[in-house]
Point group: C2
Chain length 396, copies 2
Amino acid sequence: MQLNRDFLPSLAGLFFYMNEKLENIKKLNITKPLLLDCKQNVSNFPLAYETYGELNKDKDNAILVFHALTGDQFVSGINPVTKKEGWWNTAVGPGKAIDTNKYFVICANVIGGCMGSWGPKEINKKTSEPYGLNFPVITIRDIVKAQETLLDYLGIKKLLCATGGSMGGMQALQFCATFPDRTFSAIPIACSTSHSAQNIALNELARQAVMADPVWDKGKYLKKKVQPKNGLAVARMVGHISYLSEKGMQEKFGRKLQEKADYEFSFDADFQVESYLRHQGYTFVERFDANSILYITRAMDYFDLSRQFKGGLVEAFKNQQTKFLVISFSSDWLYTTRENKDTVIALNAAGADVSFAEIKTDKGHDSFLVNEPEFLKTIKGFIDSMHTKFKNEKRI
Amino acid sequence: MQLNRDFLPSLAGLFFYMNEKLENIKKLNITKPLLLDCKQNVSNFPLAYETYGELNKDKDNAILVFHALTGDQFVSGINPVTKKEGWWNTAVGPGKAIDTNKYFVICANVIGGCMGSWGPKEINKKTSEPYGLNFPVITIRDIVKAQETLLDYLGIKKLLCATGGSMGGMQALQFCATFPDRTFSAIPIACSTSHSAQNIALNELARQAVMADPVWDKGKYLKKKVQPKNGLAVARMVGHISYLSEKGMQEKFGRKLQEKADYEFSFDADFQVESYLRHQGYTFVERFDANSILYITRAMDYFDLSRQFKGGLVEAFKNQQTKFLVISFSSDWLYTTRENKDTVIALNAAGADVSFAEIKTDKGHDSFLVNEPEFLKTIKGFIDSMHTKFKNEKRI
C-alpha cells in the first residue's frame, strides 16, 4: 500500500454518508435525569442499541454485552450501517458460545460514542450545532448508568450475565459495583479496575495524534463536514500495535515485504506490517468520529474503581451477590494477567464468588475478538451453568 | 501542563537557532567515495564528531561509541549546541565506567542525522536547497562505513572497543560484521540483529505521525523555516512510551494527578504521565529535524544482518576475532532479552568469543541511559579487562 492520502477524502465522506443511515436504528430516548460524574444533569438523550434472540417469559436469559473503545451495538450478524461483520461474531450468534437461540443479547452504543447514542457528533439542541468539545467529559460510570435505563425499558429486572472485553470489561465491573443486584453473573474479560500509567500514556498518544491534526480545529470539524483523518488514522495505528502481542506480530508479519522482492529505499510501505497499519488506520476514518476517540479514551483513563469508592476496591465489591468469571490472555500486554488477577484478588477480599481463567495464546489483547476456541469454550460453559443456577435460584 | 501549542513556534524557532551553532563543531569532510546500499555513490560530505580523552601513543585505548535514534556525537559533558548534558554522561567521562582519563572516546553523528553530519536538512549542492526527501535512504551499514573513514583520519588502526545501545548496538554489530578486524572488542547493548515486526510498527507509527502533519509537506518544510512540530512531537511520544517498562511507568507515574486534587473533566493533562509525554514531545522539536526521524527509523527497520549476508547470521559473524559482551535489560520490551540472546546464539554458532549479561531492572529500554549501577559496573569491568588483553596481544 502506497502512502496515498489522496483517496482519503472519499473515505471520510463515507463517514458522513453512514451518519445518515443512523436514522433507522433502534434508539431509546432517555428521559430519566442522569447526573453525570462531571456534575452536569442531563436528560432527553438517545441511547442506540441492538438486541439478538428473544427474552424468554421468565426473563432469566438476558445477557448485556458492553463494547470496547471502537465497538458499537452491532455485536453479531452484519452491521447494518457499515455492512461489515458484527464485532463479536466469533462469540455471539445462533449456536455460538453466547447462543442467541437460547439467550437474549443486548448491546448499547456507549454515550460519547458515534453509532447513534448521545455523543460529541450529535446536535446540541441549544446551539443547533454538533456538540464537539461542548459535549461533557463522561465516565465509565455515566456510560453504565445510561445503559441501566435500557434494562428498565426492556423490562429486565436481573440479567443472567453482564460481559465485555477491554473497556467492555471495565463497564461490566462498574455495572456490578454500581448495581450489585442487577446481574446474576459477570464476565469481565481482559481488563482492570483502573487504567495503568502505560495505558493512560497510549490513550494520550492517540488523543495527541487527533488533536495535532489542524483539521481537528478544537473539535469543530463536523460543522465543516470534514474529519481529522490523518490524526485519527495515526491514533488508530497506536491501538492496533497495542492489541497484538510482540510474538503474535512477529508470527503474522515478521519482516515480510509487501509484494516486492527487495527494499525500495523509500518511505512507501515496504513491510507487510506497515501496510497493515496504514490500512487499519485509513479505513477507520470511514466509521468513527475523532471526538468520540477523545471522549471514550478519557472515560477509560478516568476509570478507577478504587478511587470511586472511598474504602477502595473491597468497598467497591462488598455485598456482591454476582458470580464472577475473570478472564485474561497470557500474551495481552495492555491488560496483563497480573492486572486481571488483581481484580480477582480484590473480589476475593470482598468475599465475592469469583473464578479466574488465563487463556494461553499469542494473539494478545485481540484474543477476545478472534476465534480462540479455549476462550469461547470457557465463556460458553460458564454462561450455560449460570443459566441453570439462575433458574434454580428463581424457582426457590 | 496545559494543551498549549501556542508557545511551540518559539521552540521550533530554537531549532533553527541551534542549526546556526553547528558551524563551530568538529567535522570531517569525507572525500573517499561511499557506495550506499541504495546504489548511490557519494563523496565530499560532512561527518560531525566529538572526542573525549586522549589517544595514547600505542593507540590501544580508542573506544568508538555509536549513538541511538535521537542521540548525537555529544556523549559526555555539556552538549555545546543544546547546552544540555551529553546523552551518555552516566557512563562516559573522567572517572566514569568508560573513563575518559584512560580512554579516548569517539562518537560521530550518524549520516541521516541533524547534528552536523550529512543529512536531509543539509544543503544539496546541486539545488542549493535542503535535501528533504531527495536525501538518499540510508542503512545502518552506510552509517558505519562513513564512521570507519573517521578512524582512518584519526589514525586508529584497531579500536579497543565499539559500543552503543539500541540503534547504537546495531551499529556496533554491523561494524564488527563489516570490519571484522577493526575492533578488539564490542559491547552491543539492548539491540538485535534485525528489527522485529513490533519495532517496525512502532517506527512506522512515528513516521506516519510526522507525515500526517500538513506542515511536513513531503519533507519540504525547511525551505519555509518551519518544522512539522505537532507530528514530530507525537512521534517522540511513541518513543518515550516504548523506552519505559510497564512496571517502571507505573512506579514513576501510576495514576498520580498533575498538580490538582481531582479530575478536571477536560482534555488538559490531568495525569502526570500525560504531562510528561507532552513535555518530552514538545521540547524534542527544539533539537531534532523531522526528516531525520524518517531516515534514521528507516535505517533501523532495514537493518537485517541475516538478510545482508547470504549465509545468514553465522556468515555475518564468521572469522570474528572481536570479543563480544552482549547486554540486555530484563524489563526492556523493545529489544527483549530473548532477542539479545538470539544475537549471542548466532555469535556462538559462528565460533565467536562472546559473553552475555542480563541486567535486572524495571527501567526498561532506557536502562542504558540512566544510572544503573550493575550495568555500569559490567561495562567498566569488561572494558578494563579488554584493555589489558589488548595491550598484551599487541606486546606479543
